[in-house]
Symmetry: C2
Subunit: 487 residues, 2 copies
C-alpha cells in the first residue's frame, strides 16, 4: 500500500492525496476503524510535504471519511468503508435482458448507431444529414452566450419551466405566425429537438385502432418511434410531387387510423416537396376521416429554388385544430443544441407540458437562451443565407455527379441536405454498399426508410459534410461499383 501513489501536475497535491486515501477507503483496501498512518509517516510514504498530508486528512475528516481520536490519531469511518459487502459471489445475478419490455427491445433493435453502417475513419461518408460544422459561426454563438449570461446568468442556471424559456416561446410563436399560422386556440411547447416532440405526442396519445399512416419511405426515427409505441404502420407510396392521393384515399376508406405522420417539405429520405394542391387534398381527406396529423417541419427552411409553400398547419385553416406541427432548428442550425417545439391545439399542449415535466422537467435553459439570443441578435438569417449558398452548390454538384457517374437511376430531391436514388429493380443497395465500403465510400441503404421492407434498390446520399472533391470522387466510386454489380 501507498507505493502506487504518483503525483500528477494538474491538481493541488493535497487533493490528490485526499482522493488517493478516499479511494483506499471506499474500495475496502482500508477497513472501517483501521488506524491511518500518522501525518509524519504518510508524507514519507507518499513523498509529499507534511502540510499536504495535514490538509488532505483535514478534508477527509470534513467529508466524513475519517475521524480523529485525540492523542491516538486518524481512523477510517466504518460507514464509509464497504467492509464486508452484503453479497457473496455465489449470489444469483440478475439477467437484465429478460427484465426489459418491448419498448426497450425495439429501441435497441432499430438503433442505427448500433446496428448501422460502420466504416473506416477515412471513408467518404454520405450517411450524415447533419449540418456542416465548418459553417458554424462560433463567434456569434459565444457572443450570444455571454450576452445572455450577463443579463440573467443566475436565472439561466436555476430551474426553468417545462413549457420553455419565455423569450424563446415568444420568438417561436412570432416565427410561426410569420409563416401564416393563426395562433387562436393554439399553443407552443419547447422540446429537446424533434425527436422528443414526436416521443411526447406518441406517449400521450390514446390508441384506438393502433394504426398509423405515413409516407413510404419515411424518416427512420419516426418508424422506430411508431414501432416502440406498438403501432401498426401503413406506408402510402410517394410520387414525384408527394404522397400518392389515390392510395391515401383507398387506405383511409379501408380501415381506421389513429394518426397520420407527414413530412411535406424536403421529405426524408426522398427530398420531395409536396405540391400545394396535393397538400390541400391530403388535408381534406385526413380531415374527412378525422385523422389528426403530425406535421414534421423538418428542414422547411432549406429551400434553394421554387416558391415558398405554406406548412400544413397553415393550409389547414385557422378553424382547424387537427394538425400537430413539430419544428426544429437542429438540421439547419446546431444539432448539439437540443431545441425543437410543438405547435398545436392548446388543450393538447397543456397535457404535453405536464408529460414533459414528468419526464425531463424542462429542456436545457442554456440551450434555449443561447438559441434565443443568437436569433435575437439577428444571426439566423445571415447564417441561413450563407448555409443555403453552400448547400445549394453542393446539391447541384451531387445532382450533376449522379447524372455523370451513376447507371440508370431516378434521383429525387427538391432541396435539403440529401438526395434519394432509385436504381433499376435488380440493384441491391446492400450489396452495393459492401462493394463501396471496400473502396472507402459509405451511404445509407434506402430499405431502412421503408415501412414494408421494400426499397432494396434505393439509397440516400447526405452531402452536407462531404467536401466537393469527395462528393465527386465518392459518387464516381458508387457508379463504378454499381456498374460492376450490374454486369
Amino acid at each position: 500500500m501507498y507505493s502506487d501513489f504518483v503525483l500528477a501536475n494538474d491538481r493541488p497535491a493535497y487533493i490528490q492525496v485526499k482522493d488517493y486515501i478516499r479511494r483506499l477507503i471506499t474500495t475496502g483496501a482500508l477497513q472501517g476503524d483501521q488506524k491511518l498512518p500518522s501525518t509524519r509517516e504518510l508524507c514519507g510514504l507518499l513523498h509529499v510535504s507534511r502540510n499536504t498530508v495535514i490538509n488532505a486528512y483535514s478534508e477527509l475528516e470534513a467529508d466524513g471519511y475519517i475521524y480523529t481520536v485525540k492523542g491516538q490519531g486518524h481512523f477510517v469511518s466504518s460507514s464509509a468503508a464497504p467492509s464486508n459487502s452484503v453479497f457473496q459471489s455465489h449470489d444469483v445475478k440478475m439477467n437484465w435482458s429478460t427484465k426489459l419490455n418491448d419498448y426497450a427491445r425495439l429501441a435497441e433493435e432499430h438503433d442505427l448507431m448500433k446496428h448501422g453502417i460502420r466504416g473506416q475513419k477515412q471513408a467518404i461518408s454520405f450517411t450524415s444529414i447533419a449540418p456542416d460544422e465548418k459553417l458554424f459561426d462560433l463567434q456569434n454563438v459565444k457572443r450570444a452566450f455571454m450576452d445572455r449570461m450577463s443579463l440573467e446568468g443566475d436565472v439561466l442556471l436555476n430551474y426553468g419551466y417545462a413549457k420553455g424559456y419565455k423569450p424563446l416561446i415568444e420568438y417561436l410563436l412570432n416565427y410561426m405566425e410569420n409563416k401564416g399560422v393563426d395562433l387562436a386556440g393554439k399553443d407552443l411547447l419547447v422540446t429537446s429537438g424533434f425527436t422528443e416532440g414526436l416521443s411526447l405526442v406518441l406517449s400521450s396519445f390514446k390508441q384506438g385502432s393502433g394504426r398509423i399512416l405515413c409516407e413510404n419511405p419515411t424518416h427512420h426515427t419516426a418508424i422506430k418511434a411508431f414501432k416502440m409505441h406498438g403501432y401498426k404502420i401503413t406506408g402510402v407510396p410517394m410520387e414525384r410531387d408527394g404522397i400518392n392521393l389515390k392510395e391515401l384515399s383507398r387506405e383511409l376508406a379501408s380501415q381506421a387510423y389513429d394518426l397520420a405522420y407527414l413530412i411535406p417539405s424536403y421529405h426524408n429520405p426522398t427530398g420531395i416537396v409536396m405540391s400545394h394542391p396535393k397538400r390541400k387534398e391530403a388535408l381534406r381527406l385526413l380531415q374527412q376521416y378525422h385523422v389528426p396529423i403530425i406535421e414534421d417541419g423538418f428542414n422547411e427552411e432549406l429551400r434553394y429554388s421554387g416558391s415558398h409553400i405554406a406548412p400544413l398547419v397553415v393550409s389547414a385553416g385557422s378553424g382547424n385544430n387537427s394538425v400537430i406541427y413539430i419544428g426544429s432548428f437542429s438540421k439547419i442550425l446546431f444539432p448539439g443544441l437540443r431545441v425543437g417545439w410543438i405547435l398545436a391545439d392548446s388543450t393538447l399542449i397543456d397535457y404535453l407540458e405536464s408529460v414533459k415535466r414528468a419526464r425531463t422537467i424542462h429542456t436545457s435553459t442554456l440551450d434555449q437562451s443561447l438559441l434565443y439570443q443568437y436569433l435575437y441578435n439577428g444571426n439566423f438569417e445571415k447564417y441561413l443565407k450563407r448555409a443555403k449558398t453552400e448547400y445549394k452548390r453542393k446539391h447541384e454538384l451531387v445532382v450533376r455527379s449522379c447524372q455523370e457517374w451513376l447507371p440508370a437511376h431516378q434521383l429525387s430531391s427538391d432541396g435539403g441536405l440529401h438526395v434519394f436514388i432509385e436504381f433499376a429493380a435488380g440493384v441491391d443497395t446492400r450489396e452495393l454498399l459492401k462493394l463501396c465500403s471496400e473502396q472507402g465510400v459509405l451511404f445509407t441503404p434506402g430499405d431502412i426508410f421503408y415501412t414494408d421492407g421494400r426499397g432494396q434498390n434505393t439509397l440516400r446520399l447526405g452531402f452536407s459534410r462531404v467536401s466537393e472533391a469527395d462528393i465527386q470522387k465518392g459518387i464516381q466510386i458508387i457508379g463504378y461499383c454499381a456498374e460492376k454489380l450490374l454486369s
Copy 2:
C-alpha cells in the same frame, strides 16, 4: 392596408418591411398572384426609402414568397398564400382531451406546477428545494464555457452521442469509482437530470406483478412517475434512521414486487440518512426476494456533519448487479443544466442508451461540456465548500427557529436543503397553509409525499432560497398560525 406599419429601431428597415409583407401574404391579406405595389408606391405608403423596399422585395423573392414578371412588377406566390384554406368553420373540431391516454392524464393530474401552491410574489416561500442562485459562481461558468468552446466549439454544436459526452462520462465513472463503486460489469449513461433517468428506467422495465416498493413518504416526482407507468405503490414507513425493516420484510414476504425505489441519503422529504446497518439489511432483504433497486443519489453531497456513508450501489458489493444508481448534480450545482446519470449493469445501460436515443437523441452537449469543464477546472469542490457553509448555517437556523416557534412537533433532517415537520395528529397542514398564506408564508404540505394519502399533519420546509431574516420571520408566522389552529 399598409397604414399599420410602424418602423422600430431594433432591426434593419428592409427586414421589417420584408416581415411585414410576408405577414400580409401568409395571413391571406394579400392573395396568391395578387400584384404588389411598385417599389416607388410602397416606399411612399410605408414611409421608408426606395432602397429599403427594393431590398425587401429582393429577399422576399429569394425566399419564394413573391415572383417578378418582367415589365409588370411583383406578384404574390400562390403557394405561399393560404388563399382559400381547406376547412370551413362548420368542420368538426377535435376534442383533444378525449384523445389522451392515462399516462398523459396522470401527468397532468399530478403536476404540482399546475395544481400546487400559488402565493403572492412577495411571499416568504419554503416550497423550493432548488439551490440558491446567489451562490452560483457565474464567472467560473462563463470561463468553463469559453474554455470548452475554444477547444472544440464546432464539435459541441453538432450531434453528440446518446450515451453522453465522452469526457464527462470518464469524469463521472471516476467520480463513482471514488465513491467505492467497482465498475466491472457496470456502465454509465448521461441523462437530462434525475427525472429523465427514472423515466427511462420505468419506461423500459417489463412489468410482472406491477407493484413497486418505496419509502413512505417519498419524492413526489417518483410517485407521479410510478403512477404514470401504471404501478401499484407500496410505501414502507420511515423511522428516524431510515426505512422500517420489519415492515419491509413483511411486505416482501406477503407479495411480489417488480422494483424498489430508495433515497438512502437526505431522503426527500424527511431529510433522513439511512444508517449503515440498515442499508445492509435492506439490501439483503431485497436481494433475497430478487427485487432490483433504483437508488436515488439525490443530494448525497450535502452532508453537514456525521460520517460519510457509502451509497447502496457500493454496499451491495462488486458481484451484485441489482442496484440502478441515478445521480445528478442539479440540486447542488445548477438545475438549469439538465445533467444526471445512471450507473448500472452494462446490459441494462446498453438498452437504456437506445431508448434515450429514440426519445431525445442525446442530452444537450453544451450542458454536458460546460459541466465537465467546470468540474475539470476544479470549481466544484470550492463551490461545494462554500455552498455547504451557507446551507449548514441556514439549516441550523431553521432547526433553532422551529424549536423556538413551532408548537409540539417532530423535526427530521440530517442535511440537505429542507427539513420535514410532523405535528400532533390533529394539525391539518392544508388548513395551516391557508392561514399562513394569508400571512404571506408558503410551504409544501406533506401529504403529497405519501403513497397512501396520510401525512396530513406534516409539512416540508425548503430553506435554500430563503434569507435568514425571512427564515426566522416565516417560521414564526407558521408557529403563530399553528397555535391558532390548535386553540
